[in-house]
């Protein structure tokens, strides 16, 4: 299969320069690489710019209502586990109006591939702050700056006992495709946080890490089984520093330091995954672009951070039904009514 097989006949209507174009192409590439045929692939979305995505994919698609994509996707996957189910959602759709469905789909570990497009703004309603907008962010609905603390999506995923979390940048096609492919291969709820630029209402929101000049210094691409190295020439590594008090903290060391960590996405205990996912996030979430605060040198983690195998809800529900049916005496309505007290 080729990416062409997953392109619909619809003209893609994201704004010119929008980060969603890149994710759309990455999705088509990833779906081709995965090789599940289009008719066995379902893409569910809610409302928002990113929720237009199903229209551009030649699969079964359903562009539903605001915030409810996770619930509808749960219904599709649980009732028909043989289908591959994707959910397209944004920071408002997923983390504000749809927050409840999001955390419960993660808690249940429904086998969904959730693309969380995070541009830290409401685009389709023309520019209000979102649950991921940095504190102090000035928007049409926060003309004097927000006073709200934002969510860090990774932290929410770990808090909801998520089994898969990856983060990627719209401008990094290979990493995006890899994250999407891994998300699909993971059995259970997979969240890929796609950091995307909103060229109209929040241009440059991720420029601090997306700029070609600084990206290598400010991000690290984590790969399972490989050393955690970053920097222009991979000259830096990440290690745990046990000297800072009660708990170890992540720290930057030279690449040849024997303490450099090797990434393991499969650790059941989420502590280290959480530490990696939260690197730089406090700063990133404080002020637009995070640039004005002192730099602790820790990069923003990209790539697959957590990928843990656990039983999925959809499989467990169907298995339970099969088990009950295997031992039940009645399988049809007429057999069922025969068990009634009859007069």
């Amino acid at each position: 299969m080729t990416p062409q097989d997953f392109k619909s006949d619809q003209y893609v209507r994201f704004c010119p320069g929008c980060g969603d174009h890149a994710i759309c192409m990455a999705l088509q590439k990833a779906m081709a690489e995965i090789g599940i045929p289009p008719h066995q692939t379902v893409v569910i979305s809610g409302i928002g710019c990113s929720s237009r995505m199903p229209h551009y994919l030649n699969t079964y698609g359903f562009n539903t209502i605001h915030g409810r994509g996770a619930a509808i996707a749960t219904g599709v996957k649980t009732s028909h586990p043989e289908l591959t189910v994707w959910q397209m959602t944004g920071d408002g759709d997923c983390l504000a109006i749809g927050g409840n469905h999001f955390i419960h789909s993660l808690r249940r570990n429904v086998d969904l591939n959730i693309c969380l497009f995070n541009n830290r703004i409401y685009g389709l309603t023309k520019g209000q702050y979102s649950p991921t907008s940095p504190k102090g962010f000035v928007s049409k609905s926060s003309p004097f700056g927000t006073v709200e603390r934002p969510f860090i999506p990774a932290e929410l995923v770990m808090g909801a006992r998520g089994t898969f979390f990856a983060r990627t940048l719209d401008v990094d096609m290979p990493t995006t495709v890899n994250c999407l492919v891994e998300a699909q291969r993971h059995k259970g709820a997979s969240v890929v946080e796609c950091l995307v630029n909103c060229v109209i209402f929040n241009n440059g929101t991720h420029a601090w890490i997306a700029d070609r000049d600084t990206r290598a210094e400010r991000t690290i691409i984590l790969r399972h089984g490989e050393k955690m190295l970053f920097g222009r020439d991979n000259e830096k590594g990440l290690a745990l520093d046990y000297s800072q008090g009660l708990l170890p903290v992540l720290t930057v060391v030279p690449a040849d330091d024997p303490r450099v960590l090797v990434h393991d996405t499969t650790l059941a205990d989420p502590t280290l995954h959480r530490m990696l996912a939260l690197m730089g996030q406090q700063r990133y979430m404080q002020v637009p672009n995070g640039a004005d605060l002192p730099d602790d040198g820790l990069p923003i983690a990209l790539g697959v951070i957590r990928n843990v195998a656990e039983d999925t809800y959809d499989a467990a529900v169907n298995r339970q039904i099969d088990e009950v049916r295997a031992h039940a005496k009645a399988h049809t309505f007429d057999q069922l009514t025969a068990t009634l007290e009859q007069f």
């Binding site: 008719h39 359903f62 209502i65 409810r68 749960t74 219904g75 009732s79 529900v317 007290e341 007069f343």
Partner: protein, 666 residues
Amino acid sequence: MQQVVIRFCGDSGDGMQLTGNLFSSLSALLGDEISTLPDYPAEIRAPQGTLGGVSGFQLNLGRDVYTPGDKADVIVAMNAAALKVCTLGSKFNHPGAVFNTRDALYKPDAIIIVDTDSLAPKDLEKALYTTDNPFTELAIPESVQVIPVALTTLTKAALADSGLDNKAMLKSRNMFALGLVCWLFDRPIDRAIHFLEGKFAKKPTLIEPNTKVLVDGYNYGQNLALNIRQIVVDHTRTVPDGSPTDLRRISDGTPTAHRRLADGREEANPYPGRRSADGRPTVNTTPDVPAERPYTSIAGNKATAWGLIAAAEKAGKRLFLGSYPITPATDIMHELAARKDMGVMVVQAEDEISGVCTAIGAAFAGDLACTSTSGPGLSLKSEAIGLAVMAELPLVVIDVQRGGPSTGLPTKTEQTDLMQAVYGRNGECPAVVIAASTPANCFDYAYRAAQIALENMTPVILLTDTYLANGTSLWQIPRLADLRDIRPQGAPDALAGRFNPALRDPDTLVRYFAPAGREGFQHRNIGLERDAERGTISTNPENHEQMVRTRQAKIDRLAERLPRLTVEGNTDSDTLLVGWGSTYGHLRAAAEALHCAHAHFNYINPLPANTAQVLAQYRRIVVCELNTGQFAALLRSRIEGLHIEQYNEIQGQPFAVERIIDFVKP
């Protein structure tokens, strides 16, 4: 006697529901028609012996039983609090209140069996009596025959050699009362023992002591020559629960000759095998008419759940329920969650919205998808139901109505969600709304709801209510083969490669359906307005109007394929009682007493195609509802120049037949 109403009442822990159910089953077995109404206290566990903890179970048995009865002929009061609640009705907590015929839950010539061991000073104190004689304090009239029985003492005596502790012995008091009632009604005690064994099948050690107490109670009545005549009820079963049903392929043998099309026409017969208006089979009847099918007693919520199970099997679909716990609908979820043997999939969702949305997802993938809720939940589901209307997906929404608005009266009955069901969504958003009218025919209308949804690609809202949900009536158990066919809408193979979700049958306007997974039919569905031809997003003004009118016309045209309104009772009368949903039994009983006509609606939106014609034939039309007049308002808005009277009650209780008669009689 033709009918007798008996009410068992006692503390929540006294086992009144079990006692009532056992006696109901026993009566049904002997050929009585039954209608029951449990009356639970609001608190799950109110302090023992208090007024708030009184639990009741009312049963009407005999012939032509349409309702659980307005007031009881026989009361079994297990304690002082129960005696007070039965005597004062809704005034039970008014200081100084005494018996009056309007509020009392029993008739002025009723028999009251009361446990005298539970009238000790501390019992009276808990039930807020101010004197030491409850009978004079409540001014129970002399016409009421009080049978004092030392239930507690007698039960303990019966179990003296059982080795049970005091607490365990006291739990069997209800069986002594049941034994006594069996004697009073001349019920064969061996049959009662049979049911008892069934109920305690999982706790066999309890069978022997309970049987002993039951028999002792029976013998107590027989041997000690209670100064009371036994009650003999005629039990020749005629109509199972008095309910009209248009579901059965083959006549169930019920005489329904008095039922005819009010406009005099033969009813259109859109589905092969459906029954004509006079109850006789029309076409496709098998040569061997089935022997009379057996009956069981069934509560509305269970009947609803089983109707969905039957529909799924008939349609060849998986049954999917997405739901969130809410009184009084939760039993539907309980029932279906237990039916994994039937392959039913239940998702207990994180909220009401997710309940309906998981169902919409399952519908998109091709299941028979349902969600069950009550009024507040229906409010929360509104937007998603709108999505199912827009996306034209089959969806069954069950609203077990309760007292509203907001949290309202969660355990009480009301018909106040009608307007919400018909109109409660943004935009021009027509959905099908139907209503069940007896506990047993919740089965038929749940089945119908599924059929309409699957065949017409539309959400169907099925309205039941607390009264139907918890009440029971006799249900003649159908065979799946006897139920009408369900032919879910599909998409012709010829549309492969060019399918879109706007393509529809030109006659019915029902869109074609391809569930996710079907090769060559990939498409994008939307809650946004779609282009009438291509199915893609469209903001074109003319297209929007065309689509709004198409969605409406699809529902309007459905009326031609649904049953016509029928009139029962004295159709020659110039007075017509009109109702919908759960008030069927009360209106039927009132219409019979008043010798007037009665039209009852099960199809609310669209209205039956002959509605205006039927109503035009009557000079005086009284629309009776448990709300302030929602259906009356709907009728007025749909039928120009209609003049109707209204009779409304909004007390969280079913109608009393007497009150309807008082209002309507000239």
